[in-house]
Symmetry: C2
Subunit: 639 residues, 2 copies
């Protein structure tokens, strides 16, 4: 039982959080004071008694982890940091200012923030990932605490997390739902009906505890109960009032995301008992254990494929990931129930203790990857390229989290054939390129794939690898090296009349086109642009120089935003880089323009005009030797 | 109670479905026979007794709707069409062939398919949309049946649908889960534990009925019970066996997505009692009612904004949508709990009967829009541009569904200011451009926004409108017309030295840059490229011609895939269109390159180098008058 002294301290701390949340948002002129006030009591007890965290050593592996899933409650989080003595009151007052690490929603610019939040419904699925690391990889006793808003429980990803947390018996995961009843624009779907929340959570295999979120004794008991349970995650469903403690705000609509004006602020602070500068000693972890090491470190022995054979790059991904796993105990893998198609299953069979089956829940898969990298693991998460779109918001947020995750999308393009458009990744390059700081790779060959998989592991940020369903010829030797940002000239001479830039499956079409055109006396350069982002600008410029600006880009992707766009971007100036100065570009872009259907890979690539025939036609159109009618209203498609 | 005769007929029909699923996939050499066999009994009873559908008039508003959420069960669906007498056995055997409408996963190329499936977990949320239309808009008595796989229940979107269906009391929605226990690569998460499914569904407010999915009497009773209930949706959780009826396949792993070889096929068909050619008369709807008309048709009276005032385009969206709603009863709106930010709330207040609050569930929101357009409504679905990424897979699939939906993303770009990166839509243009057949609009002015909103309503496909948080000057008269595919030259003369292409908030920076440069004696053309896709190629070509190829594109978006990419695409050749022939492009692209933070809109646009200063610097770099040092290694950024 809590003592009267403790209860008093917690109350004072909670009031300080409320006052500081109001003060910081008032200075900023924007932000979410009332959303920060409803869970203040919950956070006071957590910080003062339960959170086991060394603020001087955020990287301590034994630290508990805390995720503010309701990221708009950032003022409360920063008020907690002030109370923990790690930021000053002056720093707190820099909230939302340009250059301040105290952003409007938390980001890992602050050393105590592990992941960015602000897109609702992501904190719990990410927490699942951290808890998986704690229980199964680190094998340490830290807990993962996630403070959620009630509004965000309508996000499906939250239920993916409820499902997976119980499936993996994550008793080290504790979710706290701040049921303040009021969303941004009015009452939430379930209001204060905490019983429905509890019933749903229990149906998903959780321990659920309903409490009054302003009753410090109930909060204390709930946290104790959460720590006592074995084999189940716990959710504490706390009935609270938005704007709690200030009559003019409490449980009233119209106050979401609004800072108080000067006179309102003064009254509110007075009602809360005035400003306070309590600093508490947050308990550091009691143990100093080291994380378990799963697996042994062996020399890297990559698969080697014989030139001339045919191997799908997805197959090479599976082989290389398994090899990497043998060499590096920090490599882990996840898949969304298609591991026998992506070939992540090879890793799963070899290293079951480092493989997490995410079933068909791509959002949870990417979120778990983000959570796993919080604890410095190197997660490779795979599914069909098409289905990674399901997790696009999580990928976007991973970039803001400065997370180092590796995503692998198989079954790219129309060349998958008979399954039809729903299974074809045709927008993945565009989507992944438009992620801040991302890397996008699209190998054409099995040996190349293996080399790139190795480099992915330590590449910072969101790193995406696109693999191909079909078997394609092995064109590179197994000793060749490939670097991110590079490219390969696979055909060419001093007298090339045009350059064809391709990657993945279309590279093989380009090679065939080169052979066919050679017979017509037309020499072309063929570039394997396996590194789509960053792209090899220098090699592209040289090719434009050498082939009179005659370029053909061909890709198994929608017309917009893919390899063709990456190539074009290589020829523009930016605010910081000069404009290309070579010969005028005559660029033909071959990409998918009409909705594909079922058919054989060959039929579909032909119909999409991204096959050898289309490349040959495009080059002929550009080439002076073939009597180019450059610029004429000539339809390449009519062949 | 079903008669013996009925039971016999249903059994025969189910066996025919199984045989035909095997035959069609064997001919195709790929596909999912075993996944089609497990729910065959369920579908036999549905088709023979419960489905109320006029196959000769798929558009009949009184028709029940059936969605095969487990789209890989397409062979079963097509076998049902054969049994309904609308496709021949020969047509059935064209499964997965190039040119056949019987694609690997269902698409609306077939008149009886309303929406494409194949990305799992989408059928139920879309069904929610159709059921919303039936209950609240059409006010007709048809039912919506959704056949789901068990594996797909791990998708969060399914739980968004469970939640919303009970919130909206959709007693016209019946989900059937085919619990065959086996996913693609092994046992599902919950196996045959149908009680867990039932408990979860009940916690989400559904009637849940557990049955043996091969017991025709239990199936019959479950359907009856589903139709009898009021105020609750029903889910029938049917325990089945994958590959049911063939010993070599039944309940065995390793058979997912595999066609039978010739001898296997012969044995299987024999075991199933041989081929059949039963054709049944599916009951057409008993009633011939017309859908209700919600609201009256008034002349369109768009809002008018005075030039020189400042109005946010999101504000204009809200006003225009309300005006459109008054004029057109078929316009409906949805929002994901941010209607007071997107301004969808104005429509919600004026036409509450045509507004659906989707809470924070963007996947369900887009899915509901797809479902509503099945019944010919014109759904406008809005949230922050950043959060539409949550539904990207649904948008992708909407395009394959040939769905006509309108998506509106507010709070685009770094110019939203203090809330920080998590709330900034910075990848939306790239993502939405890379959707098959999409339209992407990004207005800069309130009057323009209003005109474009009207045009969105009848535009086919996925139509995306990007709006701006900040108030911006009204620069166009309220009588000006703007067409999709057009653009506007807002500054320019005969002696322009460069062209600046902008849209949305950056257009106003470009105008300011024009004024500043004019003082330096540099005339520039400023193009408002409000139609990002399709883009106004002709106007861009003319500008390049008139300004010596000197172009600056400036956008509040990541560097990749947005307006700049759209402009570049206007200057390439394709398989069907010729190459641009004008002066060599000297294009500078100004876009967001580093992760933004919090700050004022002005600070953030300046830091991102997309403001007036950056445009002025870029133009100076291009302009001969200003002593251009074109191509020099000069950093524009150092100002």
């Amino acid at each position: 039982m809590a003592t009267q002294e403790q209860l008093h301290q917690w109350h004072e701390l909670a009031q300080q959080f409320r006052v500081d949340s109001i003060r910081a948002t008032s200075v900023a002129g924007s932000g979410h004071p009332t959303s920060s006030m409803s869970p203040a009591d919950l956070m006071a007890v957590l910080l003062a008694k339960y959170l086991s965290y060394d603020f001087n050593d955020p990287g301590n592996p034994n630290n508990d982890r805390f995720i503010l899933s309701k990221g708009h409650g950032a003022p409360l989080l920063y008020a907690m940091y002030k109370a923990a003595g790690v930021i000053s009151d002056q720093e707190l007052m820099s909230l939302r200012q340009f250059g301040s690490p105290l952003e409007g929603h938390p980001t890992p610019i602050l050393p105590w923030v592990d992941v960015a939040t602000g897109s609702l419904g992501q904190g719990l699925p990410i927490g699942v990932g951290v808890a998986l690391a704690g229980k199964y990889l680190d094998q340490l006793s830290y807990n993962v605490w996630v403070l959620m808003g009630d509004s965000e429980t309508t996000e499906g990803a939250v239920w993916e997390a409820f499902d997976h947390a119980s499936h993996y018996n994550l008793d080290n995961l504790i979710a706290i739902i701040d049921v303040n009843r009021l969303g941004q624009r009015g009452q939430t779907e379930l209001g204060w009906n905490t019983q429905i929340y509890a019933n749903r959570a229990r149906a998903f295999g959780w321990q659920a505890i309903e409490i009054d979120g302003h009753n410090l004794i109930e909060i204390d008991q709930a946290y104790s109960a959460a720590l006592a349970v074995n084999d189940h995650p716990t959710v504490i469903i706390a009935r609270t009032k938005k704007g709690k403690g200030v009559e003019a705000l409490e449980d009233l609509g119209g106050w979401h995301g609004k800072a108080l004006k000067s006179n309102q602020q003064a009254n509110a602070i007075a009602e809360l008992g005035g400003g306070r500068d309590i600093v508490i000693q947050v308990s550091p972890p009691l143990t100093q254990e080291q994380p378990a090491t799963i697996g042994q470190c062996q020399p890297l022995s990559l698969p080697r494929y014989e030139q001339g054979t045919k191997v799908a790059t997805r197959r090479a991904y599976g082989d290389a990931l398994k090899a990497l796993g043998a060499a590096r105990p920090d490599v882990v893998a996840l898949d969304a129930e298609v591991s026998n198609s992506t070939y992540a299953e090879d890793f799963a069979e070899a290293f079951p203790e480092r493989y997490f089956e995410m079933y068909i829940a791509e959002q949870q898969m990417v979120a778990a990857a983000v959570g796993l990298q919080v604890r410095k693991y190197k997660p490779f998460a795979s599914t069909f390229a098409a289905f990674l779109t399901r997790a696009y918001d999580f990928v976007r947020m991973a970039a803001i989290s400065r997370a180092n995750i590796k995503l692998v999308g198989s079954h790219a393009g129309v060349s998958i054939g008979q399954d039809g458009a729903s299974q074809m990744g045709l927008e993945d390059l565009a989507a992944m390129r438009a992620v801040g700081g991302s890397t996008v790779l699209y190998p054409s060959d099995a040996n190349q794939t293996a080399k790139l998989v190795v480099q992915m592991s330590d590449r910072p940020g969101v790193v995406y690898l696109r693999t191909t369903r079909e078997s394609t010829p092995v064109i590179y030797g197994s000793d060749e090296e490939f670097t991110i940002g590079g490219s390969r000239i696979v055909r060419g001479s001093d007298r090339d009349q045009a350059t064809v830039i391709a990657a993945g499956i279309t590279l093989h079409e380009a090679i065939k086109a080169s052979d066919r055109l050679k017979n017509e006396g037309i020499g072309i350069r063929v570039i394997d642009a396996y590194s789509v982002k960053p792209i090899d600008v220098q090699t592209l410029h040289q090719a434009a120089q050498d082939t009179q600006g005659n370029l053909v880009v061909v890709e198994d992707h929608w017309f917009e935003g893919g390899l063709g766009a990456a190539v074009l971007d290589a020829f523009v100036g930016t605010a910081d880089t000069p404009i290309y100065q070579g010969p005028q570009l005559r660029l033909i872009k071959l990409a998918v323009r009409d909705m594909p259907s079922s058919g054989t890979p060959e039929e579909l690539m032909h119909a999409a005009k991204i096959d050898t025939d289309a490349i040959v036609s495009a080059v002929r159109c550009l080439s002076p030797v073939a009597g180019s009618r450059l610029g004429e209203r000539q339809k390449l498609g009519s062949r």
